[in-house]
């Protein structure tokens, strides 16, 4: 069970059961849909961007515990950040869940560090990154996220 708990951390389970910012955004300036055809996970990410700043962010959709918790925690950490900061955060998060770069002390990954366990489950990396890809698509003005073949 201990290794399973590395993946299904309490924080992740808690977010998957009670996702934050889980609604649409009436005054959204950006929105994109992310779909993983392999498993059917589907999320829409809504943004209200003011100049360079992400003033508000929310999401809706259906997916597994990992993808839902990831989307939920993403909205929390990204709210109020600049586009550039959000992009950097995704790059760092990506390296975390693929196991390329483990979490470091004093780093600004915040609570996202709980997703480090995903790196032990290659089949689940796409679950953790789906919302982030969708956020990126929304920021780039695309309606749909394109998931990379290899992740």
């Amino acid at each position: 069970m201990s290794d399973l708990r590395d993946l299904y951390q309490e924080v992740i389970l808690e977010h998957s059961k009670a996702p934050r910012n889980f609604h649409d955004l009436a005054d959204a300036s950006h929105k994109a849909e992310g779909f993983n055809p392999l498993c059917g996970d589907q999320f829409t990410v809504y943004l209200r961007v003011d100049g360079d700043a992400i003033r508000d962010i929310s999401f809706q959709g259906a997916g597994c515990a990992i993808s839902k918790a990831s989307a939920s925690m993403m909205t929390q950490i990204v709210k109020g950040k600049s586009r550039e900061e959000a992009k950097k955060l995704f790059e760092r998060f990506h390296k975390l869940v693929t196991g390329e770069e483990p979490p470091k002390n004093g780093e600004d990954l915040g609570k996202l560090a709980v997703f480090a366990g995903v790196s032990e489950y290659p089949a689940r990396v796409k679950c953790a990154t789906l919302a982030w890809h969708t956020l990126q698509a929304a920021l780039e003005g695309q309606a749909e996220a394109v998931l990379p073949d290899e992740e």
Binding site: D3, Y8, C39, G40, Q42, G63, C64
Partner: protein, 427 residues
Amino acid sequence: MTTAARNFEAGLQRPEDAQLFSRAELEKIRADFPILQQKVHGKPLVYFDNAATSQKPRAVIDAIVRYYETTNANIHRGVHFLSERATEQHDAARRTVQKFLNARSANEIIFVRGTTEAINLVAQSYGRANVGPGDEVLITGMEHHSDIVPWQLLCDDKGAKLCVGPIDDNGELLIGEFADLLSPRTKLVAVTHVSNALGTVNPVRKIIELAHERNVPVLVDGAQAAPHMKVDVQELDCDFYAFSGHKVYGPTGIGVLYGKAALLNAMPPYQGGGDMIASVTFQKSTYNKVPYKFEAGTPDIAGAIGLDAALRYVSDIGIDRIGAHEHDLLEYATTAISQIPSLQIVGSASEKAGVLSFVLENVHPHDIGTILDQEGVAIRTGHHCSQPVMRRFNIPATARASFAIYNTREEIDALARGIEKVREVFA
């Protein structure tokens, strides 16, 4: 209607007539499959993803190794010893398939890559020649994507219409509605014998009867049926029957399209190339006779020989006994897991074969799959290439356990324990 009568209607052997495997027989069968001896994440492997692909017995692995070590040569054109031997073994494989399906002639057996290619062959050859603007192709609401998309490609190309017979909440085809959809414009019916997502056994005999009353030919997708039940294409009177080798204990890359000789003879070729021609000039080529007309290029010779070994393995044990064993497992598993709170079985047709799809309240199937994997239990999670079925039941995905010859009741107990663990994690 009694179960036996329904089985007869569906073109099945009656599983209750067949004797279940003894413990010793089952142990012997398990020993035939080298892959089952391993541990996964420190637990004995429990392989319940058989509807995706089955494991291979030693007899199949050995036949392929033996072919490459002693026989490998290209078939048909060589006058040398090895080529003649390879040709003979490839021909023998075709005769084994003929016997397996009880086809009239070995020439009615076309080797393809798998069920998907078989259906595409019929869509692109028979379909393009016989389906025109305003015509209709009729399928059911429980088809695998491979029995939907080839027909969509054809219909888009020809300006024809794809019609879909609806299914009910149990996952059974509504046969009355299906019959009503047979119209004077229906040019072809394509139905799955057994649903890969729900396990439903379709009343294919009845469907074929209904279609034939209107002179409409029927293709049966047998990918999930051939491994579990006796298929007799003459008794069914289907016009086309497709199945994959790798789901019936054979290698990947080899499958079968059965077609009635008269239909195959009248159909144009599917792909052009070597072996499928009688003569070629730059002005015109004439085509070889069936089945070679549909087998352009060097075929998967080792695959056919592996499939031969697989079908002989199955036939030696007896397909009706295999079906009875799996039926026993399905009943045992259905009873065991339906006692788990918050678990719901998806697909409760009165006739089911070897497939148990389920969902857990508040737990996504993907998470079920990951946690079961940690317990050594391999199941499938997702939409099973049947997105319309998922939509019909208003669920994004299911967890699916599917059974084979080598599975045991103890393994189902491990599955049930694994599901309890899932519930603990998500409690």
